[in-house]
């Protein structure tokens, strides 16, 4: 999936005109998990809506699997099947009387026969960890927030996309709900071999899940690097109001305090190991520094 020189202007030619994207070049590779981060209003949500032809580029183009995406062209239906897009607060799009019917909405739009639809619904609910027999007949409006969100994710998975784009999938959930969703996404990436694009404000989530980070700032690509390299540039990230994962932050502070730790560790586990390694191997620090 490739974007070339993507520019998007909202409400062009009116007093409310605003430029959301100012020339974005980006390639998403098959099978990777890409983290898309950036301050509020940096154009993340606008960018991903080009991935499946919901928005028309003002300039530039988007190519998915060698086919250019143009809203209105017949190829768009194909692209929408390949690229599953999950909006922020996706539980607000639920509408059917039962969970089963809601998840079945996508497959039914594809014109599949009832057995195939049922099969896909069971499979998708299984992916998000909801028992189809128990949850299928319930009303989506009787579920908890986290469960509703998982139903919405299942609704997109039922299209059997190759690429899954998630716009802040953990916003507004409690810690247990967050862990659940993130675990499911990791599983979809590893086991179902989905390409994942994750928009998030949580650097910890990005560090845990993604291999590569793209930072958007004021409608441009500010940084595009593997996670470790990206989060090694703490100062650059902080200059645009972003941050690094908490574990990296702790290491950076230790280093500033004189402990010679490496700072390209991203998770709490990695940071622990690193601190233990330095403390055990580098006895000189505690004796001379005291």
């Amino acid at each position: 999936m490739v974007c070339e020189g993507l520019v998007h202007v909202y409400l062009r030619g009116t007093p409310f005109e605003s430029v959301a994207l100012r020339g974005v070049d980006l390639a998403v590779r098959r099978g990777e998990c890409l983290g898309l981060v950036g301050p509020t209003g940096s154009g993340k949500s606008t960018l991903v809506q080009h991935f499946n032809g919901l928005l028309r580029p003002t300039e530039g183009r988007v190519v998915v699997d060698g086919v250019e995406v143009r809203p209105g062209s017949p190829a768009v239906r194909d692209v929408r099947r390949k690229v599953g897009l999950l909006f922020q607060y996706p539980e607000h799009q639920l509408f059917e009387a039962t969970v089963f019917d809601d998840v079945a909405f996508g497959p039914r739009n594809l014109g599949l026969d009832p057995e195939e639809v049922a099969e896909r619904v069971r499979e998708s609910l299984g992916w998000v960890g909801l028992d189809p027999d128990r949850f299928g007949p319930r009303s989506p409006f009787s579920l908890s927030g986290g469960e509703m969100r998982r139903v919405a994710i299942a609704g997109v998975l039922a299209m059997r996309p190759q690429v899954l784009v998630l716009d802040e999938p953990t916003a507004g959930l409690d810690p247990a709900g967050r862990r659940e969703i993130l675990g499911r996404i990791r599983e979809l990436h590893r086991k179902a071999r989905l390409t994942v694009v994750l928009i998030s404000h949580s650097m910890d989530d990005v560090a845990r899940l993604c291999q590569r980070v793209v930072v958007l700032h004021q409608g441009r690509v500010f940084l595009d690097a593997p996670v470790r390299e990206a989060f090694a540039q703490a100062d650059r990230l902080r200059s645009i109001g972003l941050d690094v994962p908490r574990a990296t932050d702790v290491l950076l502070r230790l280093r500033a305090a004189g402990l010679p730790v490496r700072c390209d560790r991203l998770t709490v586990e990695e940071a622990c190991e690193e601190i233990v390694r330095v403390l055990q191997g580098g006895q000189g620090w505690s004796s001379s520094g005291a």
Binding site: Y10, P15, N52, L54, F87, H92, F105, N109, V156, M159
Partner: protein, 270 residues
């Protein structure tokens, strides 16, 4: 998607023009007067003069002319229908025949009549939308409330009406945005919104309307709670931060509008 965004009727365009600075009451009354005048004008000279006046106000308001014309887009079908109906049926029988198709006869009188009625509608839409382009919803509601205040004695709930209007206007863009988002979300799940017969299309609306209503009710509840939390108990004894005050410019504007109206009516007399 762009279709929803092109809905410009009733949108405020913030500018620092003399028209924007007028008291909302002046603008509401002036617009009402202009509405009456546009229906009283009986020939093209009157309408032309009216058009010149409205164009002058548009120029003075600094609202881009293209934007004003775009406000006509939602009603173009109505305009076209009016024109066609008038061309065929507006001239009455016995006019000069221009063109014939079976029982349909287009007359010269009908054409003139059609153009006249269409021009009248265009001016009607432009002059009323000018009010909402230059007056923020809050000002508008304030002005309405004050204008309706004298009628409170005969049971008109002025404050409640104004509050309802403010809230309704405030939530139009929010709901439009929400609709757009839900449409996109359902399209991402393969929903087909613009093909098929009328029945299919009506059915395709269900996945959009249900979430929209759910979220509208949720918003209403949240808003009610937020208003109560800030001590709102209706209009009784409520003071305001920005008091409306008539100033010299309002007198000038009022006089200009009245003179223009009289001129339009005088040109069209006979």
């Amino acid at each position: 998607m762009e279709l929803l965004r092109s809905l410009t009727i009733g949108q405020y365009v913030p500018r620092a023009s003399p028209v924007h600075r007028l008291d909302p009451r002046t603008k509401i009354l002036a617009t009402t007067l202009l509405l009456v005048v546009v229906f009283l004008a009986r020939d093209f000279r009157g309408l032309g003069l009216f058009g010149v006046f409205v164009a002058g106000v548009v120029a003075l308001s600094q609202v881009p002319a293209g934007f004003v014309l775009r406000g006509l887009r939602p009603v173009w079908f109505l305009l076209l229908l009016t024109l066609v109906l008038q061309v065929f049926f507006g001239g009455g029988s016995g006019g000069t025949v221009l063109w014939k198709l079976g029982p349909l006869v287009a007359t010269r009188e009908g054409l003139v009549q059609g153009l006249f009625v269409t021009a009248r509608l265009v001016l009607l839409v432009v002059s009323t939308s000018l009010l909402t382009y230059t007056t923020s919803p809050v000002e508008l509601a304030d002005g309405m409330e004050r204008l309706l205040a004298p009628f409170r004695r005969v049971g008109v709930p002025a404050h409640e009406l104004a509050m309802m209007m403010t809230i309704a206007l405030r939530f139009i863009p929010t709901l439009v945005e929400e609709t757009e988002k839900i449409m996109k979300a359902q399209m991402a799940r393969g929903a087909n919104l613009d093909t098929g017969g009328p029945l299919r299309r009506a059915r395709a609306l269900v996945p959009i309307l249900v979430p929209l209503f759910v979220s509208a009710f949720r918003r209403a509840e949240e808003l009610a709670l937020a208003m109560e939390a800030r001590g709102y108990r209706g209009g009784e004894g409520r003071t305001r931060m920005k008091q409306l005050r008539y100033r010299g410019q309002d007198t000038v504007a009022g006089v200009v509008v009245v003179l223009a109206s009289l001129l339009v009516l005088w040109v069209g007399r006979t």
